[in-house]
Symmetry: D2
Subunit: 455 residues, 4 copies
Amino acid sequence: MEGWKLLLFLFYLNLVSFTLIVADPPKCPVNIGTECGDGHDSGEWKGEFFPGIPNIKYEDWMRFSVAFWHTFRGTGGDPFGAPTKMWPWEDGTNSLAMAKRRMRANFEFLEKLGVDRWCFHDRDIAPDGNTLQESNSNLDEVVALAKELQGKKIRPLWGTAQLFMHPRYMHGGATSPDLGVYAYAAAQVKKAMEVTHYLGGENYVFWGGREGYQTLLNTDMERELDHMARFFEASIAYKKKIGFNGTLLIEPKPQEPTKHQYDWDAATAANFLRKYGFIDEFKLNIECNHATLSGHSCHHELETARINGLLGNIDANTGDPQIGWDTDQFLMDIGEATLVMLSVVRNGGLAPGGFNFDAKLRRESTYIDDLFIAHVAGMDTLARGLRNVAKLIEDGSLAKLVQKRYQSFDTDLGAEVEAGKANFELLERKAMEWGEPEVLSAKQELAEMIFQSAM
Amino acid sequence: MEGWKLLLFLFYLNLVSFTLIVADPPKCPVNIGTECGDGHDSGEWKGEFFPGIPNIKYEDWMRFSVAFWHTFRGTGGDPFGAPTKMWPWEDGTNSLAMAKRRMRANFEFLEKLGVDRWCFHDRDIAPDGNTLQESNSNLDEVVALAKELQGKKIRPLWGTAQLFMHPRYMHGGATSPDLGVYAYAAAQVKKAMEVTHYLGGENYVFWGGREGYQTLLNTDMERELDHMARFFEASIAYKKKIGFNGTLLIEPKPQEPTKHQYDWDAATAANFLRKYGFIDEFKLNIECNHATLSGHSCHHELETARINGLLGNIDANTGDPQIGWDTDQFLMDIGEATLVMLSVVRNGGLAPGGFNFDAKLRRESTYIDDLFIAHVAGMDTLARGLRNVAKLIEDGSLAKLVQKRYQSFDTDLGAEVEAGKANFELLERKAMEWGEPEVLSAKQELAEMIFQSAM
Amino acid sequence: MEGWKLLLFLFYLNLVSFTLIVADPPKCPVNIGTECGDGHDSGEWKGEFFPGIPNIKYEDWMRFSVAFWHTFRGTGGDPFGAPTKMWPWEDGTNSLAMAKRRMRANFEFLEKLGVDRWCFHDRDIAPDGNTLQESNSNLDEVVALAKELQGKKIRPLWGTAQLFMHPRYMHGGATSPDLGVYAYAAAQVKKAMEVTHYLGGENYVFWGGREGYQTLLNTDMERELDHMARFFEASIAYKKKIGFNGTLLIEPKPQEPTKHQYDWDAATAANFLRKYGFIDEFKLNIECNHATLSGHSCHHELETARINGLLGNIDANTGDPQIGWDTDQFLMDIGEATLVMLSVVRNGGLAPGGFNFDAKLRRESTYIDDLFIAHVAGMDTLARGLRNVAKLIEDGSLAKLVQKRYQSFDTDLGAEVEAGKANFELLERKAMEWGEPEVLSAKQELAEMIFQSAM
Amino acid sequence: MEGWKLLLFLFYLNLVSFTLIVADPPKCPVNIGTECGDGHDSGEWKGEFFPGIPNIKYEDWMRFSVAFWHTFRGTGGDPFGAPTKMWPWEDGTNSLAMAKRRMRANFEFLEKLGVDRWCFHDRDIAPDGNTLQESNSNLDEVVALAKELQGKKIRPLWGTAQLFMHPRYMHGGATSPDLGVYAYAAAQVKKAMEVTHYLGGENYVFWGGREGYQTLLNTDMERELDHMARFFEASIAYKKKIGFNGTLLIEPKPQEPTKHQYDWDAATAANFLRKYGFIDEFKLNIECNHATLSGHSCHHELETARINGLLGNIDANTGDPQIGWDTDQFLMDIGEATLVMLSVVRNGGLAPGGFNFDAKLRRESTYIDDLFIAHVAGMDTLARGLRNVAKLIEDGSLAKLVQKRYQSFDTDLGAEVEAGKANFELLERKAMEWGEPEVLSAKQELAEMIFQSAM
């Protein structure tokens, strides 16, 4: 554990907070005028989108990634409100030229933030066309630019296909009751997997956008799950065919947009994978906000994934404990971050996965510096979590407390039990021989106190 | 589906409500005096415990069962209050004689209710002794009486071991960190399985009382789950050894008493069974209140169990949608009962499982007639649910609506997809050939309207 | 209670379901072509929007109302998806001409449904202009048309101002930290109140769109609540000034879009009204889905409003018990509807309020007939609820059960207690004189059985 | 803010954790034998109950209090399990002698912990008698001992009456449908208020044990609330009569043991107080775990109480964010403690209220040192919270961020608005004059980052 190079953002953070608290609103409205960059070439402007923001330095072993959709496609719209983000590089269109300018903003952002990975959906980065062929061609054009901008250092942590926004997917993609939609979804995943591979992506994610149901009254759940299995089977075959060695990741979520998402939580996804024989072909992408929506702590979901050999990636965000929907907030609770890092350390890290900031600015955070504040604070929080884990490990008392609780199994009979060699007759004999067991304190308050004292 | 003999309690219910609304409190307090039964032989009194209650008639194919613990050991105590039930047959002790008198009350209750099945924990029916040997001997004595009282018609729907009440189990039984407790639990399950077998029980249940954790900080979840698997493995072996052919049932519950119960929900239990290779050795006992506590509808959990080939038994009760703990109320919502029966009918019934009334009188329901009202109303509600399912099936429009949604898969290509023969290349070709799919309405409101019109 | 004219939709419903189950998707896409109506005059087409739908008959004393926003502005968009509703009268714009055509569709819908009331937000019915003046002028133009189309029979149940969609309201309206926004909101409410008055509206609603906070860290809650009080004070003054005699209604909601809405539930709103001295100037508009989101049953919120003398209107909808956000579904649960109607009957009806169908088609329900199915089923459900209440009242046993529980207060000493004349010394004397009270059963299961037997 | 004397437990905590992690189970079982203290005089033993625990030093301005019920009457029993705490001073009885010995343990604990306040229910400290008179006499005897043991330094933070444990209170006390129970409750509160006064208690608490309902079907909520108001009215009169100057406190809780507790949350309690005219006679005792059960953050409830002029006392504990019942855990989250202390500082402290540790050891924490660990860690956490608040105040950037958001109201027109002098006509004029408001970022992420950087 020696040689840990912990990230120390604290000095930097103070600097940021000092400058940002007096920040003004963005000077450039939606329509890029002459005073914003060159202003003439809306399509291929290569100026600076984040003037006044210096490059941010830190160690990269956390494998942080920026989520293209939240950061560059998040509009601030919600079910009760119109968009609020008026980023200066946006021209109000969803054109191919706009997609390219947005991609340049992404790479400037990555560079200034010092982050080497990014995540995307196909439709985030390039506009839908009138046909699938046209959509694919749009995608190819933007991906070519991304490839160029990536250079040698930057690559996708993962890519995925957006199978939930378009009305055709309103009943799901792989679990749509309509064969035409199933085929369309397959074609889209095929292409998204190809471009992820082309860009050097390290993983490919299946988040079950609308794979689920709104009511069981109109749904044949069994048939839909069978279809989903066939879809995954075909994706495994295709991955191998094109030589893509990245990890396939399923991202559990309990609800939203559907009442019931088929990949409810880590255990549900694991059951699905085992039932259909895919347990060795997939890992899980655990999102903290999804974890809490499913009634679990994030730490529980991470541990469940880890124990099942499935912890592949983390969508680093958090929810609001009083809110029943996915708020995708930046994780800023240090205790929570410490628990997350505990699992990561036990897992021996996440590579080839990493931490994707699947988090969005609040609708009311509308300045460009808010994008930086949020990402920097998110990274800092995880870094402080890691530092706390280091302290806990060095201190050793928490591990000792746990080890002591189980010491009766670190015996000959314990080993026999754990090897499956102790039948009920033997155990009954022992129980009668030993008499009433002495019951030891679980010392939960002590464990909590040790944990908090590392904060 | 022809020849459905539906239960018609309605006339009876009116009768009951007429008489019960004017009912007086029980005349006989805890200490059985001379005016209550013979009053002299506290141990072996064989009088009538429910005077004035006639026998209740209905068809038995629902396989209803009375839960001994709620009905005969429920005291009305809660975390903020002392016992409130002062049943006249109780003498305030937990003696062996009291256990026998209670067993007689159980059989009078079953007979008057016309129910042929009952469920029990070992420690419900016989008192703990000072040693395991003495506890076993107490159990044998009460079981012998039960065997006699059962006669030819009555038998346990299932039996189980109570591994959660005694302080020794405060950290769990099969997942206790203490090997001594593990062995003790094994001995207790061994014996409980033997007596269930002896009494002709049709199933044996594992409800994971305290198999779970209060905090991950002091817990080695992986090791505990491994222990649980070894425990189950030993139980399978023992079941075979003694020739017990009943079904082994796991009863999922998400929380309570622990923060996290290892058998969280149906999918979690299924994953566990698959991971350790027991998927063919167990079924599930789904409890509606546990389902809703885990964030699912009861119907969802039943369908998940059914689809995984695991629907074995139902603990018929309900929770309060605004309450976050297990209230174990009698199910009296007819819509909910209809959904439950939909799954049962799809499953081709539950046998050798059935419906166990794992429901308790409210703490404030303290009259003997309340015990009857609750059970009769519970049975009536499920009977009305079954009648509604019959109506829905006869009407056919709900089934037609569902069938129509999936009709695109009832084609040659659909069959190929479902057989796993359609790869991504083929599907992409089809998607391009077909163009934009027409998207059909899911008709959820219509489905709900059809459903409600059967009520 | 005699002479109840209950609504009997059942026959009609069967008819509807027979025809609708085989319905085809709408023939006319977004762009109105020649085969859809006249097709030439996109702005002022006066053809039939719902061909093939006959007029629907029923008694009007329930005072049903159609919510313009869900029915005519609901697009099917959600945070994860694009619009799905392609109503044939929409041309894809938000023009004034489109607003007028939409208004005609509204009145055809009302007429065919046989409903005489409608509810609206200012910005639902007319587009925002570039200035407040222009917005007002747009509104005037559409309102003039609505006035004409209303004729003598139809009028608004209530109107309101939309203070949540536009980015200027992202921090709230009356509770925005920005005085400019506060003034803008005041101007908008002033105008909305004027047009509601002009159209003969019977109530004016304040739903606190974004009056609340996202985090207390950046919020001065006390100051914001004071501002809200000043805003309401000004609205009361203005209402009197223009001679508007309708009821002012506050609509509680606990969360969404903000983390905490200031009008959390009925009791919170009542406390606010009392604190600032407005308790006699407002009533409440209770929405069932908001009730359940706040942790209460809908029945509880209705009773709380009623007991505080504040039950003014009901937004008739329902949520999903497993979902933590506002789903605004059509209420189709008959038990729930019966509880709602129990409160309405106890309140002596709702007039001048009524039942507004603040419910939206599921995103996946995309056919025009779905609009009718949902509203008809919603009305039918409440009608069946009312019929059940009549049965319960005629039967009388539930009322008798309740009355009997409190009979000890129907005595001389009980009257003294209720008149505030029994001090602790007197009560202590009585307690000592009487000794241990006999404790009676609450008979909850019996009450539930009686309730269900009326279904 | 200068001269803050912050509590520094950290060194001490390390010491404690070092010694406690290797602690053994308690040596003395329930039956006090000769090797435990003198062993001969079970009733009046005056030895040391916590040998080996030194006195703990800290500043007292936090006004900490130990809750007698959790610490000395908590048995570890739960709905699924028997008691687990085998404190060596307990003899297994509920005798008067036992009550006295327990009281001595309480004062030794207070002294060793260095805490000067304690809280109690009447029935915690003295056993129920066969009659009210006998119960009162038992209480007098124990109270006399407590008075003696208190000396000059120690006194109750508050006292209260236990109106929920005995079956007579199963339908409530002040809201029981039975007049006899109402009178009994009045007599008990009268006495409890007397002894609280006698002991120098600084507050008297009403926690609505079972004041609420299990189902509205059998409940007349309006009548019950009226009764509760009459009960409170009588308590105010009696308080004045006996010259008790302590604060009367209502403790909100949303649920448990009833489905709906009448004092649901701070706003609900405030509405009740205002409706019946008691708003100046009561304050609130906010419990964090109750806050989160009601769907609010603890900080929200504290602020709501403060803004309504009602923040009187804090029951310092916490819940588990994934658990739907009252877990009453010791608060060990430093972020949460910082938010709590923010409200306390804004309130100018809590005196004559304070922090009562209404928190219980986990059922599985069964050693005596666990009692100390939990209380010390609880105090330390709040102390660290206070230190963080000091940091935030000294830094000033959070306050500045908030102040800046509202600066538009710090103008002449803002002052007019806040004085209620700006009518709708004026505001409309201003809105038209000003045009579209510039909308500022809420900077939530920055606020969170500043907050976390103080941790």
